[in-house]
Point group: C2
Chain length 225, copies 2
């Protein structure tokens, strides 16, 4: 089975590297990292990952995966990327995302009428695209599977692997990566964080989020015509 994972400039690398770590432990899966070309792609923090294939050479995905990150905003208006995703999705068994990757799938029209999740800061934007926003860590609706923000990719990947290859092997993968998380603080989600912490995050991201929402609004309006 081919897993096609989209790489792109200014992604949030852990959205991709978390699921990659889980999926790589299944010998049935061949993981492809795809971008327009095979030059190293910089994540938003400067980590450079090398694609394994280009859009032109990429095999048909059995599992199509789109991570999120600030670079996602540009992808929503990139016809080459959206066309690639639509072509791949048409033949894929699963169409999946983590974090704001779901906004890219939505911009390609691939989540219309589905339930999905997203990073909490951007979750409401899914509704602009006719997608039902669900504030859960992993959301499965038919063959669309989405994870919430960044670190949820590990939970997402284990859930997907359990569905495909059974719980016992997913449990072994989980033990192999010692996934027994112990966050040092409460408050990793907006439902448990203090108002002060939520305000601090919003203050850091307000300008960026306003632009992201403006782009989502524009793309969603165009999608309806």
């Amino acid at each position: 089975m081919n897993v096609v994972m989209l790489l792109y400039p200014n992604l949030t690398q852990l959205d991709l590297t978390g699921p990659y770590e889980v999926l790589a432990r299944y010998k049935e899966l061949t993981l492809h990292l795809v971008w327009k070309d095979c030059e190293p792609v910089r994540d938003v923090s400067g980590l450079r990952i090398v694609p394994t294939t280009s859009f032109d050479d990429c095999p048909q995905a059995d599992i199509l995966f789109v991570p999120g990150g600030p670079g996602q905003v540009a992808l929503m208006e990139d016809a080459e990327v959206l066309d690639f995703l639509r072509r791949q999705a048409a033949g894929a068994r699963y169409v999946t995302s983590v974090c704001t990757g779901s906004l890219v799938l939505a911009a390609a029209g691939l989540l219309t009428g589905y339930r999905a999740t997203c990073h909490w800061l951007s979750l409401p934007q899914l509704a602009l695209f006719g997608v039902e926003p669900v504030p859960e860590r992993v959301v499965i609706d038919r063959n669309r599977i989405s994870g919430a923000g960044v670190t949820s990719g590990i939970d997402f990947a284990l859930a997907l692997m359990a569905q495909l290859f059974g719980e016992e092997r997913a449990k072994a993968a989980q033990l192999m990566i010692e996934y027994d998380p112990a966050p040092p603080f409460a408050g990793g989600s907006p439902s448990s964080a203090s108002p002060e912490t939520i305000s601090a995050v919003k203050a850091l991201t307000d300008g960026f989020q306003a632009n992201r929402e403006a782009v989502s609004t524009r793309v969603a309006a165009a999608l309806k015509h």
Copy 2:
């Protein structure tokens, strides 16, 4: 502050990319990915990451970090790597690791007399090097900070950032990466996993672990002379 993160062939990429995601959110830190040269380094599953600097050009670390993974076994007998780590550690404020990265630090003599942790499968090997093995997710002993297996790197990084820059900002980072983990199954650690799951993992790793232990035993004996 310079964070020097060791990249090497056949590392487990999430050991590094998990902490990277947390640390990258602190503008006070400059992250360096270092190997012998600047060619892309393949992780054990084939993910290629590009170093930002070489041993020769690397600045002095304020935080020195070593991830784990199968490639760690070769590093334990690689004099160039061990010399680099010893030189860097001498001037570093923190000397840190995730997963079997602690065995590399131990092989360099940098954990002798300290408490530390490691991936659960390899934790007992620390004792060969005069290191006290501690079965906890994050272990802080003076300026040595270690995380347990793979995914513990996120907990490790948040704990380190809280120590350096305070809890409020660490909480904001945690909320930004939506770190509110929801493992789909219990059993992500050997203390909570079923005997069947533990057996399944051991069956997959027995041969590799036997060699890893043989190398640790040999390197530890040489270190004492």
